[in-house]
Subunit: 244 residues, 2 copies
């Protein structure tokens, strides 16, 4: 992990850009902290870090103010990272299926999501290795993520993640539904009830499948991008209950 | 409405018992309040006020401390109120159907719930008439209720109720599902995901049916009676957003 820039934002938050191999990322920490901090990994939606930066920064500032370090990395095939022809094709097939108003074939969802999960999860684990080697970061670690299948796999394979906030806003392969039974950490799952581009029943099936004894589903109105502000505050309180 | 007792609890909460006709009720208010307060009606589960008093009192204390008046009344056929042979029979039929592990006939649910709704809703309205005539109570009014069909009907017919917390933990007649579309006030619906004695799919259908633009479903684990403490705090914050 190499830091490529460092700046102090006006509210005393230190923002450091880094690269891990060819993966760009950002780490936000408070200017001064007496003890190693818990860390929250925020996985962006697959739109690229640059496009989502203002939203990520707002969340990071809020979260740093509550005593956490926050980090994010670019997802595979997003932002300035090399694209995948197969993923582009699967996405085009998904959009065609949605435009036709029909159900989306499992096969399309598999082609779109499974390679992304396979590639992203080890990248998040390598990022965690590098971040937890920094003296100011001591864990525990929370994960807050955009593509719910990535968060699901990560919760199964990565024991350093103690609690996760998952956003049920993307299609879920059946294979991930099977993996969900192996998740045992506390989960706080956000669902936009009236998210037109999402398969609500699949989201409910996934929530039901999670093996965690403590799991909560918070469903709100407002469409895919309309998560209300109080839902973000409740997610922060969930992390406070489990990471502090 | 006649007050039958008044006592000052140790934390400065005034507890007044009352009767409205033959319906017993309790009103909790702070010792001193400079302006008319918003009111939260808490509908108990159908176990009787006496049995649920410790839980009701704990909630009332917490809610009064946040600047509300809190009131409750005994549900029809509960506590010391006259029982209904028809309701007892319907309840026995429900328990038989559940014990047999089969689905519960709509007809049993109708017999159990619809007469209760028909009788309870005007009682809550009469209680509201009497309470809002008190100088210290100025509205707005929130409703927090145990039998979700009562809360649904009340939200449709009673314009003085500005926001409601509903507990999706009881069977819902199809007729109430149809009424739910007419509900337009902000709703905060609690569901215990692993509530064995509840029809979860019906709860989800009811939530979907509510016509409110602002509605949220909060599903937690812990069985019928295991609503976690933070869920109560989130419900309080919902009322604070809408009643203050």
């Amino acid at each position: 992990m190499q830091f490529t820039s460092e700046q102090r934002l006006e509210d005393g938050v230190i923002e450091r850009e880094f690269v891990l191999g060819d993966i760009p990322g950002i780490l936000w920490t408070p200017e001064s902290a007496s003890e190693p901090m818990p860390l929250i990994l925020i996985s962006p939606p697959p739109l690229g870090l640059r496009k989502t930066y203002p939203r990520l920064l707002a969340r990071a500032r809020h979260t740093v103010a509550e005593g956490y370090a926050v980090a994010t990395i670019e997802l595979p095939w997003s932002g300035d990272r090399p694209r995948s022809a197969a993923a582009d094709e699967a996405l085009a097939d998904l959009h065609r299926a949605l435009a036709a108003g029909g159900p989306v074939d499992d096969e399309i969802v598999d082609r779109l999501i499974l390679p992304l999960v396979d590639k992203a999860v080890p990248e998040w684990q390598a990022t965690l290795d590098a971040l937890l080697a920094l003296p100011e970061l001591g864990g525990p670690v929370g994960y807050s993520g955009g593509v719910i299948s990535i968060g699901t796999r990560l919760a199964v394979v990565e024991p350093r993640i103690a609690a996760a906030v998952l956003f049920a806003g993307s299609f879920v392969p059946r294979a991930i539904l099977a993996e969900a039974r192996k998740v045992t950490i506390p989960l706080h799952v956000l669902l936009q009830w009236d998210d037109e581009g999402n398969d609500r029943q699949m989201a409910l099936d996934l929530f039901d499948a999670f093996g965690s004894k403590e799991k909560a589903l918070y469903a709100n109105m407002g469409g895919h991008t309309g998560v209300p502000q109080h839902a973000g505050e409740e997610a922060n309180r969930f992390f406070a209950r489990h990471l502090k």
